[in-house]
Symmetry: C2
Amino acid sequence: MKPTEIKNVITEILESRKEEGGIKALYFVGCGGSNGALYPAKTFMERECANIKSALINSNEFVYSTPKDLGKNVIVCLSCHKGNTPETINAAKLAKEKGAAVIILTWKEESEITPFGDYIINYTFGDNKDIAGEKIICALLVAVELLNQTEGYEHYEEFMDGVGRIDGIVKHACKHVEKRAELFAKEYKDDKIIYTMASGAGYGAAYMQSICIFMEMQWIHSSSIHSGEFFHGPFEITDKEVPFVLQVSEGTNRPLDERALKFLKTYAKRIEVIDAKDLGLSTIDASVVDYFNHSLFTNVYPVYNKALAEERQHPLTTRRYMWKVEY
Amino acid sequence: MKPTEIKNVITEILESRKEEGGIKALYFVGCGGSNGALYPAKTFMERECANIKSALINSNEFVYSTPKDLGKNVIVCLSCHKGNTPETINAAKLAKEKGAAVIILTWKEESEITPFGDYIINYTFGDNKDIAGEKIICALLVAVELLNQTEGYEHYEEFMDGVGRIDGIVKHACKHVEKRAELFAKEYKDDKIIYTMASGAGYGAAYMQSICIFMEMQWIHSSSIHSGEFFHGPFEITDKEVPFVLQVSEGTNRPLDERALKFLKTYAKRIEVIDAKDLGLSTIDASVVDYFNHSLFTNVYPVYNKALAEERQHPLTTRRYMWKVEY
């Protein structure tokens, strides 16, 4: 769905709630990778919006421990890749029953979840997808439009300019890391644990890399450490053997990531640094660049992951439980 | 500080902001264990409060990527154990400069951070502390009072009854797990990685156990997995060797934890289950019990941790970087 269409979705929702007190909350709901992809949008609301409550909630937690205000003054924006995740379908069903405005981000045009959405936003996916059309940016646009059409967003133009640039930046960056990714795969192919580290709006990309790739697709132990939390506990496991993949973000959070990098350079030996500045993200305006880190990192990782899976002879499609056993 | 005093703090803040548009946001700010301890209060606001924005933010991220609305319509509630954490001091300083109402939860009566707090809430700590006076409950009371004195909170009486019960429940539970803790220590003393798992308002306790105990104080690799996220990636690392400590909570989130338990019982072999129902949490009213899980779990863990540290001959006070090197 194009940015102008998402703009219209928000206009329509706001119009429909005008006489009922407007929109007071925006909940992002999803599981696993679909949860992580909503992280930049949640961060955007937290930092930029004064009058609308927001949260990012796991689908099943949303169903069992539902926010009390769920109702007609709320937008629920769910992410569901193929439209068949039972927990997210239940969350959408509940949101619709309670009268919330339900936006569903999904790759498939028609699926089990679509009847429960008031608005279906189809996102891009797969080889050569348009990065600006991915669920990450779609969720961000929901937040940006909601802010702009209520309180106003002073960096709206810069944000839209960023949306126009991100595809080119990411595709260039993916080429740029190809050789490093091969070296990475050779170096880390036998490791039993690999940590990721990140902060700010791009943290969700580190979370996704840990849980969906290292743990799910490669059966490597992992955890995504927040660079700001690192020095308050986790850093004690640092030594010359333990591998870290560090996202050094561009934007306001950069000092946190650089501090972690400085420490790792001194006390760790096996670190892979993915630096958003090196990868060209700085061509996006400083006022909005924070929110584009996730799209960059999460799309650069697959270059590493492809190389790692080949080197380990462990295809990214291999599962032992997912879709195979009852759970 | 007693509950009635926290009540008065909120009354005074609301009174002072009356002519300036009231309180529109409550930010919880801290690092590491002081961040995790604020998790139940953040969850409380998310679920129970309709009109006040809330978020839990790492101290340094708060300083570098400050929410735009930080100002006189905002309460910032920071947690800082000895009052000397530089990142949290900077966050308090910034909040005060911007005119926010600054509440500082701290163990020490006087410290570097106290000049930057409008209100200092001293919490209990150490052997035989009153559990109802800990930072976890103090932060929750800030949230409960803010909700009750603005929108109203229908379960206020039940919550206060829970505050009256938690100390007895926890002290009984700690005795109850003593033998299990010793067996746990013997079984897991040589493990290189131990996962924790939890969901709901008690998730913060699993986070703290992972980062502050396993990683920081025992140099054991760890990650705190959300029970609802487990089935969307992390569960693929499950096998008969990998150890999990699972918090089965009491309250609305219990089905998520029970589902994880069922899976682990089938596919894992080495699991330690800490069940809030077994440990007596159910005597707290069902309408509020969710928010007391954290206090129970986080205070039962030390019994395990003491036994583990002794068995491993790795004192909980040993550090290689924290307070020892520059970072």
